[in-house]
Symmetry: C2
């Protein structure tokens, strides 16, 4: 059976036959890289959100949906070390949400309030898009264009043996939130507590934009990715693209407190946190020599950075992802979000 | 009832509040315009194609669908007077077309054969995209990025009173093809004739890329748009954005021969041709002084250019679109494709 990964690889191989003078990097990273102007690179990313697959309207308030539609693409630009500038938004709209339906007015006002609030926060201008009817499901395609200095884009493939692995925050809260939502929990602005925090982590993720941009400006990471498909799977992508292997320290991985709401015992929680997607924390490989500066930038951005492991030579006799616990090193199973396995 | 037009206008007004130093033109034209490099402008466009709305798999062979997915966006870049360079492709894929389904292999091979053949023809590099499952319908979102010289992008809003109106080819063939397809006709590579030509006009449209690019290079049009939503509606857009009115000469509008297959009588055929969408001819407003050069470029590109009317002052006492026939001037009704009225 072909996975999403294989499918993309085939398209990527075919696309790679074309070359263009201004193309720096095509398919296969968080964003494509173009050389549109001397001294800087242009980054382009696109993310598709489909009703019933990526969200359900029964639990996703439209304002948060508008926020998330932009947030997921801002996260990709951050993962490249860039700053976002422009966005395009394509909507496939089913009958009940079409402008001719009076009730749809409130839905779109809320949706765009969420979208534009985040756009304003990040100085992003919505410059285009497209609209079409759909037979039944709301479909959102979100494009963001950003910039970084020339040569500054941080790719998945730049990690080196000996690099330390860092993570900008705890993982597992978003997957916990999704599980709670599917179980009937609903987000409420007036409520506080761990459950609400999990729901918000899923419905209203915060892209690590300032951290990503600063890391790009200072050139402090060899490789970076956003944890959208799960820590294990996204770390595996860095390893694959950089031709290295990774050892993750069990005790160093920050498992979100929210995970405790649904997982009994630390080992189950660890597995859930490492396999769960959509946390949108940044995962980076960097030289341990730069650690002080990395922690300083994280603190400036209000993030709690964790050093969770190190990169080692790839070795065909063992898997790419390893887990070190109490001096023992075992394979770390790569589970995560395959967009075709749900 | 709010139309697609009103809906877009509201989003556009909200988006216009944000301004960015490198943004030349945002929502409201065939493509957005960015100033990414001195001496040139960057054009960005996106088009959504949804199964059952924009195409049906029972009549659209996957190779032609791949072609059309790219063609519609190339047409937008041509309508801005630009040359395409890069593309991104987002696919929302239902179960039966997912890579894990063996039968889907042939579908995607054909789809990408069509896509990449057109990309190669226009020197376009596929640089990114996204994939997701969808519950049931195939969804295709096509982004194309192109370039033109600085100040060279041809907007909808630049037309002037006194300009002549030109069209790069006959209209109505695509709408005829769609009607035949819905009636059960199918495209066949081995067959010739008018019906097959109509089917191909709909399923495998040819973007007027070379013509659009040359017009942009030479600065020969004040306004240009591709006829994707119907001649009347797209001409109305030029008039609206340029604050002018248009007189169309009944006898000058080239109605495609294919229309005769389904319309009895020339007047019915005219209405059908002027209201039918997806011809992807270019419609432009230009000075009559440049007519010789316009016809020369069209001939170089293998296109039969027609002068179909002229622009006159907007006047609140009459509609924006007028039809002149035998010395008499009457309103030309604006029918066309509203993406929410189907």
């Amino acid at each position: 059976m072909q996975s999403e990964f294989d499918f993309i690889k085939r398209i990527r191989d075919q696309a790679a036959k074309a070359s263009a003078p201004d193309l720096v990097l095509g398919i296969g990273d968080d964003a494509a890289i173009l050389r549109e102007r001397e001294g800087r690179e242009t980054l382009v990313t696109v993310d598709l959100l489909v009703e019933e697959i990526d969200f359900k309207l029964e639990y996703a308030p439209p304002r948060l949906l508008g926020h998330k539609a932009l947030a997921v693409s801002l996260s990709d630009i951050a993962a490249m070390g860039g700053a976002p500038a422009f966005s395009l938004l394509t909507l496939g709209i089913p009958k009940q949400f079409q402008p001719s339906n009076l009730k749809s007015g409130v839905f779109w006002e809320e949706f765009f309030a969420g979208y534009f609030a985040l756009a304003e926060e990040h100085s992003v201008s919505l410059i285009g898009g497209d609209l079409s009817s759909t037979p039944d499901r709301l479909t959102i395609d979100s494009v963001v264009i950003g910039h970084c200095r020339a040569g500054g884009a941080i790719r998945r493939g730049g990690a080196k043996v000996g690099d330390a692995i860092y993570l900008t925050g705890p993982v597992g809260a978003s997957a916990t939130g999704l599980k709670l939502l599917l179980g009937g929990a609903r987000v409420s602005e007036s409520e506080e507590g761990l459950a609400q925090s999990a729901l918000r982590a899923h419905l209203k993720p915060t892209p690590r934009a300032a951290f990503g941009r600063r890391i790009g400006e200072r050139g402090l990471a060899h490789s970076m990715i956003d944890v959208s498909d799960g820590l294990a799977q996204d770390l595996a992508r860095i390893c694959e693209e950089s031709a290295v292997a990774a050892i993750v320290d069990y005790d160093s991985v920050p498992v979100a407190n929210e995970v405790g709401l649904i997982s009994k015992g630390p080992e189950v929680a660890f597995d859930f946190a490492v396999g769960g997607g959509e946390d949108f924390e940044l995962l980076l490989a960097a030289s341990g020599d730069d650690e002080a500066e990395l922690f300083e930038i994280a603190a400036l951005c209000g993030l709690g950075l964790s050093r969770i492991g190190e990169l080692v030579p790839a070795d065909q006799t063992r898997p790419r992802l390893l887990l070190r616990r109490g001096g023992e090193v075992k394979p770390l199973s790569i589970r995560g979000f395959d967009h075709f396995q749900i």
